[in-house]
Symmetry: C2
Subunit: 439 residues, 2 copies
Amino acid sequence: MNQTVKVQPRIQAGFMELLPAQQILFDKFLETIRETYEEFGFAPLDTPLIEISEVLLAKIGEDTKKEIYRFTKGDDDLSLRFDLTVPLARFVAMNAQNLTFPFRRYQIGKVFRGERPQKGRFREFYQCDIDILGNGELSLINDAEIPAVIYRLFSKLNIGEFVIRISNRKILTGLMESLGAGEKAESVLRIIDKLEKIGQETVRKELVDMGLSAVNADQVIEFVKITGSNKEILGKLRGMKIVNETFESGVAELETVVKLAGEFGVPEKNMQIDLSIARGLSYYTGTVYETKLLNDKVTGSVCSGGRYDDLAESYTNQSYPGVGISIGLTRLFSQLLSADIIQAEAATPAKVLVVTLDEDLNYAIEVATKLREAGVMTELYTEPDKFKKKLNYANKIGVPFVAIIGGDEIQARKVSLKNMKTGEQQTVYIEVAIKSLKA
Amino acid sequence: MNQTVKVQPRIQAGFMELLPAQQILFDKFLETIRETYEEFGFAPLDTPLIEISEVLLAKIGEDTKKEIYRFTKGDDDLSLRFDLTVPLARFVAMNAQNLTFPFRRYQIGKVFRGERPQKGRFREFYQCDIDILGNGELSLINDAEIPAVIYRLFSKLNIGEFVIRISNRKILTGLMESLGAGEKAESVLRIIDKLEKIGQETVRKELVDMGLSAVNADQVIEFVKITGSNKEILGKLRGMKIVNETFESGVAELETVVKLAGEFGVPEKNMQIDLSIARGLSYYTGTVYETKLLNDKVTGSVCSGGRYDDLAESYTNQSYPGVGISIGLTRLFSQLLSADIIQAEAATPAKVLVVTLDEDLNYAIEVATKLREAGVMTELYTEPDKFKKKLNYANKIGVPFVAIIGGDEIQARKVSLKNMKTGEQQTVYIEVAIKSLKA
């Protein structure tokens, strides 16, 4: 053994690294997300993790800037991507002539934010995004198809009840305009976005501190608390008789999107108008979504997004309006695991482990090869250990079946297939084993 | 339109970014690799892209050090991973008590090397690795299973004839020992590794410059040029009557591995002993592999690896011997594409595009939703464009089928399904369309 000084193996706080059984579960989430996005015709994109700082940070705020992993390499000023939206904007502006619009893309990948680590916050995490971009214009039907994707995806993920909360930023903007405070609309939206997190009193205080009158602050808070069925809320909005073009256009859009989403098969119980949904980013210009699991143990929005007028304005004069959403998968997965809503199972993708009673592996190799050729995920136990140790290994990795091979099996050219859950064991021909394993 | 100053959208040289049709093709490669690795019971691992420099660079050479993307964030000295092997070593040393050995893991992910960009070299590229690690020991059967994985994978990828070239570093090391130059063995292996790249004359010169006698340099070169079938080469090695334990052990291991790989179903034409295969890294201690496509347009090894005695020695006194391989997928894919060995096809994963003759989308939404529920990947054309523009879009993205909906189809509750390759068109019920599309 090498007795030189050792470095303590470790990783940074805020980076998720999973053991095999958990990783297999995580990968199933990735697979379901990918499959659902493709089902709706979104095409994959895979942008570099490292971008040129001047390009990536063209329009970034000071707060976000602090979080960027930025560095130089030779003469180059580089940064790790902090989301998948800015790289999409850069990609579209760069490659527009080779793309066909509407351009539907998904991207699943890690992004980096070097904030101070705290519970439930990650510095490296997966985002799973879809966006539909028009060249110059994009119809409102797309705003209704996005909830259909969310609905189908979260139904498939099978992690409990969920609701897509929807609003339209034009509504609150129009309300502010009608109150003669249109120039404060963006700040109001940013503060309202925090309602659930900081509570009504703090929101009121922030609204007033920002320059809204106490009366207007109360009006805004009462407004975003309007409840009822989607139809009732839309009725109440119409009933307010607010004469403002922005407001009316926002209400009309919201009504259309909600109606069309229903036609796309999204039940009303899974999509509810909530006027307090505002999204913090000034970026959004119309429809906004947040998705909540109806489970106290999973906090915050698990899937958010909305409509924007001009994605790539930092890079081009051509306008690309679009609509999209993002899932912060690392945080969601970590919460689901902590809350025991999902459980890791086997630490191997194999369906069966081939083990031998003695050290002769020739027939075992033949069996494993035949199983794999038939499409059965098969692990061969290769080490000359005692049989007990081999079965112990099978139990530890949680493989569902073990194919046991001893002298009798070799003679008869069979295997003894053991179901590790039930303990049931049968000595059968390989072809029969394949059938059981593929069933 | 926003007329402010624009930043030119661009990415760094040496970073591969694909258009949708190419990306879909690339993802098929990723999927086949993942599927094959899992078929052999390898479990997924996903380590952080950012590691602590002290940990990642514990044992790195000066040459490689220059290529590292290294930076500070706050007080932390961090680096982007440059391969997947060092993170594996770190992971195993950190988590050994929660792993079951032999530990079979695969990892597919991007790694970073900031070298000067040149044709065919990437600064950000995918590695696709498998490794099997023992705790203290690992049987030689694993060295034979690895070529079985390579064989199955490259057969499935369907990118032409290939050969896995195999050797064992102990053979050349033993030869050097028998020549009384054992201390030069590592340098000899490093120089021989370049034979194909720099040619025989330059290798001879480097061997002599390094301190080998001209006679010995010639002996080494003649030795690695030994040709014949696997059986013939093994016979010639035995016939040399070299009395050296390392040499004999190397020949015996090579013979066993070649024989067992045959039992794992690897045909001899796909696995050939080649004594010039040395691998540059001192890291390898036994079996070594390189895989070549039998196509002049794809140069270098597309899949390399071997056996090592002690993976995690930088981090722990516990020894983890193992065997593994790595595919540099970005370079391989880029060469295959340039050589026209593979061709991108559709720019959408959708099997069918639903288009309407007029602006009424209600029935089209219903059709698209039904198709998706039946598992058909379906894109809905959402924009109120002229029909000709819609069909033009279908042609551009290369979608195989279009489901056309006009007044007649709505009335009859049917669709007109058009095969975009043959031009054939049939008006059928949705259920019939689903059957055709799933066939």
